[in-house]
């Protein structure tokens, strides 16, 4: 159990190290330039065509793995069109997106619950 915990710390640290090298401003530029926003929305909120990724549910390596070999409808983007570093920058941008407020704190959304 302790080993698993340590492994988790190591992985998290590795992910943090990757994140720390990401340039969020460049990541945002790439996110828009390469059309990621077309399916995922400009703040990664998700649409009918692409999953919610802002803030990101995966770590940077997870994001890279997913982009290289996506299991669903998303096209696979190889290193020829998006480098690992660019994806790390995108990840850094996605991490700057704050989580959504709970719906209960948005009156118009909370009203929908009255039904």
């Amino acid at each position: 159990m302790q080993r698993i915990f340590l492994a988790a710390i190591v992985l998290a640290s590795a992910a943090y190290a990757q994140d720390a090298t990401g340039n969020a401003d460049n990541g945002k530029r790439i996110f828009m330039k390469n059309g990621c926003f077309e399916c995922h929305g400009t703040v990664g909120q998700g649409t009918i065509a692409g999953a919610r990724i802002g803030p990101p549910p995966l770590n940077a390596q997870g994001l890279i793995r997913y982009v290289r070999r996506p299991p669903g409808q998303m096209p696979a983007f190889t290193e020829k069109v998006m480098s690992d570093q660019e994806l790390i920058d995108v990840y850094a941008y996605l991490r700057t997106i704050p989580p959504a407020k709970p719906a209960k704190d948005i009156p118009l959304l909370n009203d929908l619950r009255a039904k």
Binding site: K33, N34, G35, F37, E38, C39, G41, T42, V43, G44, Q45, G46, T47, I48, A49, G50, R52, G54, P70, G72, Q73, M74, P75, A76, F77, T78, K80, V81, M82, A100, K101, P102, A103, I106, L108, L109, D111, L112, R113, K115
Partner: protein, 646 residues
């Protein structure tokens, strides 16, 4: 008695010049027309012979150029017998006789002529109108150029099982074609161009023939599956006097619509047996609710079985907040498809576009029984492929689903034992809980991107709902997938006019005119018509906004202004990623920006209220509120909202 003053050609031209001067005075500030330079004056003067002829007394024998009874008057009698409320048309010479008779003989009432600026708009307006009102509109068009404009919209209606009653003008007899325009606007077989996607057509050669075929066409169009029909109104029949014999004998046949075909009783009993015995039955609804009554029947079937309903939203089939809305085909042991044109697609997964090759797999469990009730099995054509892939099912009932549901419900009720009832109620409780949880997830998801600019489609959906929820509203646009389906997830849809479904054949350019047609039908009921309008769609024929303004058709349009053809953006990105190159070129050939289109100004140019562009989500609620106030005064209004792509 008024004194006759002969007017020769020169006198007429002089009078016309005076009239033009008067007209110029009326518009006051209109810029003056520049005089042409002398060498550009090319209009020939009348020849000496013509000038002389116009100044001499007419020959003793004078042809009669007037008639008290053009054939088109009788055509109007026929048309009135079919109870059309409106005729949509862009004016054309090949049906000028019928046009004049509708206005002057028919009094421009029942039907009233609506001025359209494009034949595609005429047909799509009729398409949207039908889905609210349940009866066809008439469309008039040239048999050549007008029908060519109209053809895509006719194909949409055909694929969407919507009857459109199309009357085409044509000059069949070469001896009556006056000039090159009339030759170019004449055709040997006018309906040929759309015969692959219309149900029936005829080219009557007499007025009595016109009467019989017109009534027959209406009956065929209104027998499920509903489809467009075409009648050619020959220009000579329209314009020449009605023959004496016809004046005495011509009659309009009685119209008796056919009852829709209901399913065979043995097959219905078998379907009921399977559904009642099933552990996890799922109902898939395509165009199940053919009339408003269809919603109640589907609710009754679902509640009788405590079975979930997957609404594919080709019509308003099932209440969106009903606890049985949802379910999973993957877990089903019996799947019942009701008027599902793409039943194969509903029961299979396909290779996504981002993969090479093509393979498909059933998403149903092995051994699951598949039942279809589908009127499309009674009718079909081969050239256009809207029928979809062949569905391998266990029980195929060729019938109209709505007409079959009463018998199916009764058959199910008779078979339900107390044990089955208990099991069904337990199933229903689980489904209700799953439905509630799904709604909760949707509400939480809507919070993401809440304050984003461009404005999220979820935010637009919720802001709109806040303004219309206490009104008698009608959403007349397709929002799935173009608006991420948000209204279908968050709004409370109950009534047949609250959602109209989709284009039919995905021919873009349907949205705006279909919305105007639907708003036209809603007008007399005082409903608040809401149109979430895709920008790409509006730009095909935006002049329909003028038609809405001119005819005082109230409608709230909210622009989904995402400044691109986004489906194609995604396809282009897919292709570039597949080819390992240039993924940043997605906007080339797909963007509708640089310059951005100012839709509020466009609306104003067409004579209606325009507001925007709205880019800050905080401004959206007040803008919608103001626009609704305009709509409540009986006018169309448009709010341009710059939105997220989806």
């Amino acid at each position: 008695m008024a004194k006759k003053i002969p007017v020769g050609r020169r006198g007429f031209l002089k009078g016309a010049a005076g009239a033009a001067a008067g007209a110029a005075a009326l518009v006051g500030s209109a810029p003056a027309i520049k005089a042409q330079s002398p060498e550009r004056v090319a209009t020939p003067l009348p020849s000496a012979a013509l000038a002389a002829a116009e100044k001499t007394s007419p020959a003793p024998r004078v042809d009669v150029y007037t008639t008290d009874r053009p054939g088109a008057d009788f055509m109007v009698d026929v048309i009135k017998s079919l109870n059309f409320e409106y005729v949509c048309a862009n004016p054309g010479s090949s049906f000028r006789g019928l046009h004049e008779s509708l206005v002057n003989y028919g009094g421009n009432k029942a039907p009233e002529l609506l001025t359209c600026c494009h034949e595609e708009s005429s047909v799509a307006m009729a398409h949207g109108y039908f889905k609210i009102e349940g009866k066809p509109l008439m469309v008039m068009a040239h048999g050549t150029v007008g029908l060519q404009h109209a053809s895509m919209a006719i194909y949409n209606a055909y694929a969407d099982r919507v009857p459109i009653y199309i009357v085409l003008g044509n000059i069949q007899d070469i001896n009556f074609r006056r000039g090159d325009v009339e030759w170019a606007h004449s055709v040997q077989d006018a309906a040929a161009m759309v015969r692959d996607f219309t149900k029936w057509d005829d080219n009557p050669v007499s007025l009595s023939h016109f009467a019989e075929s017109s009534v027959r066409a209406y009956k065929i169009a209104m027998t499920p599956p509903y489809e467009p029909v075409v009648i050619v109104a020959d220009a000579v029949l329209q314009e020449e006097p009605m023959p004496e014999a016809d004046r005495r004998n011509a009659r309009i046949p009685k119209l008796a619509l056919s009852t829709p075909p209901a399913g065979d009783s043995g097959a219905v009993a078998e379907a009921a047996k399977w559904l009642v015995a099933a552990e996890n039955p799922v109902i898939v609804a395509g165009r199940s609710a053919r009339t408003p009554k269809g919603i109640g029947l589907l609710v009754e079937l679902a509640e009788t079985l405590q079975a979930p309903v997957q609404d594919r939203h080709f019509r308003m089939n099932f209440p969106s907040m009903h606890p049985l809305n949802g379910g999973s085909i993957a877990n089903a042991d019996v799947v019942l498809g009701l008027e599902v044109q793409d039943f194969w697609m509903a029961t299979h997964s396909m290779t996504p576009i981002n993969r090479l090759g093509m393979e498909s797999k059933p998403i149903t469990k092995p051994g699951a029984k598949l039942i279809t009730i589908y009127s499309g099995d009674l009718y079909g054509k081969s050239n256009y492929q809207d029928f979809g892939r062949y569905a391998e099912v266990d029980l195929s009932i060729a019938a109209d689903a709505e007409a079959t549901l009463p018998a199916l419900i009764e058959a199910c009720k008779k078979l339900i034992t107390p044990d089955r009832k208990r099991a069904m109620m337990e199933r229903g409780a689980k489904l209700a809980e799953a439905s509630r949880a799904a709604r909760e997830r949707d509400i939480e998801q809507a919070a993401y991107g809440w304050d984003a600019s461009p404005i999220s489609t979820a935010r637009v959906t919720v802001e709109l709902w806040n303004q219309i929820k206490n009104e008698d509203w009608s959403l007349v646009s397709d929002v799935n997938p173009f608006f991420s389906g948000w209204p279908l997830k968050l709004w409370d849809f109950k009534k047949h006019y609250q959602y109209l479904g989709e284009h039919g054949a995905y021919g873009i350019g349907y949205g705006a005119p279909a919305a105007v047609g639907a708003a036209l039908a809603n007008r007399k009921y005082g409903r608040l018509t809401v149109n979430i309008q895709c920008d790409g769609d509006l730009n095909y024929a935006p002049s329909v906004l003028w038609t809405a303004a001119h005819h005082r058709i109230p409608m709230l349009t909210i622009m989904h202004n995402n400044r691109a053809y986004h489906q194609e953006v995604m396809y282009l990105t897919d292709m570039a990623a597949r080819a390992n190159r240039g993924i940043e070129t997605f906007n080339v050939g797909t963007g509708i920006n640089d310059p951005n289109i100012d839709y509020a100004t466009m609306a104003k140019a067409y004579g209606m209220y325009g507001r925007g562009p709205i880019t800050d989500p905080k401004d959206l609620g007040p803008a919608i509120k103001d626009a609704i106030a305009v709509v409540k005064r009986g006018e169309p209004a448009l709010v341009d909202v710059v939105t997220q792509p989806r």
